[in-house]
């Protein structure tokens, strides 16, 4: 069970690594606007390259 003396610090290190990332992101302003990004997900860019690629490959299959 003495392995716990290695595992516990490692786990804590990992946890606090994430905490550090959280603090850094908050300082960069990622959490300032939490209402708008969910709405942005719903917006489709009509001219996106991905969409065009999918459309052309579909039409190619059909032809």
């Amino acid at each position: 069970m003495s392995i716990i003396y290695l595992l516990l610090p490692m786990a804590l290190l990992l946890g606090f690594g994430f905490l550090g990332a959280f603090i850094w992101m908050s300082a960069k302003g990622q959490y300032d606007d939490l209402e708008t990004p969910p709405y942005r997900l719903l917006i489709e860019d009509e001219n996106s390259n991905l969409k065009n690629a999918i459309n052309t490959s579909v039409t190619r299959k059909e032809s």
Partner: protein
Amino acid sequence: MEEVYSLHIAFRKMNTVTVSTSSFRKCIHCGNSVSASLRSDFCCNGCKLIYELLNKRGLAQYYSLKAKTESLRKPLPAFDPISDYTYLDSPESLKIYSWSDTSDPSHRWMEFYLEGVHCAACVWLTEKVAEFVDDVRQIRLNLGTSIATVKVGTLGSFSEVAQEFLKMGYRPHPIQKGMTDLLQKKETRTLLVQLGVAGACAGNIMLLAISLYGGVEGDLAHHFKWVSFILFLPVITYSALPFYKSALNSLKSKQASIDIPIVFGILMGTVASIFNLAIGSNRIYFDSLSTLIFLLLATRYLLRRTQQLTLSTSHLAHFLVPATVRKWDPISEQIEDVLLDQIAPGDLIQVRAGESIPVDGEIIEGSSSINNALLTGESEPKIVHIREKVYAGTVNLYSPLVIKVSQSGLSTRLGKILKSIDEMLNRKSKIISYADRISRIFVLFVVGISITLLIWGTQGNWYEGINRSLALAIVTCPCTFALATPLAFSLSLGKLAKAGILVKGAETLEKLNEVRSIFFDKTGTLTKGTFQVIEWISQESPQDKMETEQAVYALEIHSNHPIAKAITDYFSLLSRPIHEEVVHFQENIGRGVSGTFRGNLYEIKRSNLQNSNTAVSVYKNHLKVGDFLLGDEIRPFANETIQNLRKLGLRPWILSGDTNSATLALADRLGISPMSCIGESSPEIKKEVLASHPFSIMVGDGANDAIALATAHVGVAMQSGIEVSMKAADIYLATPHISSLYHLVIISKETLKVVRRNFYFSLLYNGVAATAAVLGKIDPLFAALLMPMSAIIVFLSSISGTRKMRQSFQELSV
């Protein structure tokens, strides 16, 4: 002749069958209901114009996006574009409103508050504006605060961006640089980090604690206990800072605060745990304490974020007068554009038709009609001649005037009003919240602790005594109550915001519980505020009628009079107006217009009032062919709302700038007693009335009500001139439905009921837990179970609200 005519009209009215369509129509653009008499797909000309614009530009995706998404708040009908934003490009304006990053000087930023953004489609549309204006690098909209951040390159023009926003139907208000409360932003971020640290540590401490509950012993237990102590340190020293600060401030100012017993409980718990840790006992409470701090911070953060959804108004510019004026130099006989700041009393300036007057002054040359709505609230224009006084903020309607400046800037009547608002707002005392008031009870518990300690101490068992009294301190902490209260408020505030009722803060909801009277402004508040065509009665055949309608539109479009506006609005939605040439157009100020259209002479003249409505007759080649009935419609359900508010125990008053007779007439129609009616009130009088009636709500709109709004215990601004109203008022109604006032009052009362309910539960819980602590039954496991149980109960209590609350929210969302 007059009696025959009125009989004729009455007969026509009787025979008009109201066609009720199977479902009421909704405006294609904004979704608000369309008045049935209009038979149109749009609620207003603004929405119609935008619909056409979007289709023309290939942006019709807006409507499919809108259908897919949920609205953050109720949409507003679109505005007709009439504003001029070119002042934004001047170097002086840029200094005030825009900024650059020092690392990136070739780009400039500016922020705008946009009225009417409510869903994802609005986000898409707003950000698409970047594609329609040259050299705009980025536009990002924050839907929660309605603030759009715009980044332009060296060639970009902010005024064009603003104009585009307006065209899309979102009236933009520029925000002074640096005023978006950077301090607030920093504080919110700090709170979030404190929350995150508390959460991370609490989670890890909990993991270790579980093993301790599970019975681990020996060296491992010893090490786990110390590790949990180390993990606890950041929580007690950093995350709990907000509580320490608040408790210290309250102690310094000798006021009660809920944070005082909380801090005491947390610190005592820490002391007990450290003491027990040192002596090797198992009675450590780091897990409960850290989770508690985490939860307390969580609900506070939630409340803070919710309160930010309504605008913190310090950063809206007072933009009620133009920035540049046309100065007339009598010597060189030339007009030059100068900044308003550079005008001194005695200067001569020229104000053209349609422009707003920037100064207080005396007319030197010209006659015109003036719209005094900003200062008096009445939209009926007033005719002015030489040597008469005019005031800053009013709009010149008819013809150019040369004015001699007597006051400008802050010494104008408008400027004094604005300064007065700031003073009133500073003086407005903050109420001590319910939570803080009852914290005294919890402090009593603390006193009980000391006594317990004493009793046990004198019985010789110091160890047991300390432990029990410390345990008592922990469980009598009003934590669950302090958890649930911000939650209850933020839920109500959030739902109200969604319904279009923007409330500035939790304390406003509390204040609404204390009010005894409600004062209504008349024009724009109880009524819609503008002339509207109630009926258009034509005496011609359908073909001739159509031509007359086109003629009337073509004529009235040349006039700035509110009646002309009402008529052109009415026709722009019905027929397809043709902009043909009108020959010999003439306007008689305040009386009517005339002109020749397609060979026929049309005269549109005011006729006698028809029972307090305004009547306008149309003559074709000197023969009468039709009549307009115009009026300022009372808002729908105004009557009901007032009766309902009366039932809630509020005494309704009307406080208006209009004539006594008009005010009494309206009071009569709404069932308000003439004793509660005060007419002919200037902004200054309104302030005095409200000062003599503490514990009142003032409902008003525009700058003329602003001081009253700031003076009242609770000020409610109706959908109107945003800058001044939002600053002066505690609540801003972004919805035209006056019935929401009733629901607002109910919801605030119910929210307080929920808070009180939480309090009683909290007392009960604390009583039970205190007894257990005194009897020595509180061990860490027990405390760790007790706390989340009670927290869940009060959470559920706050979330479920009350039945009346749910009902009201239901009605508001319809």
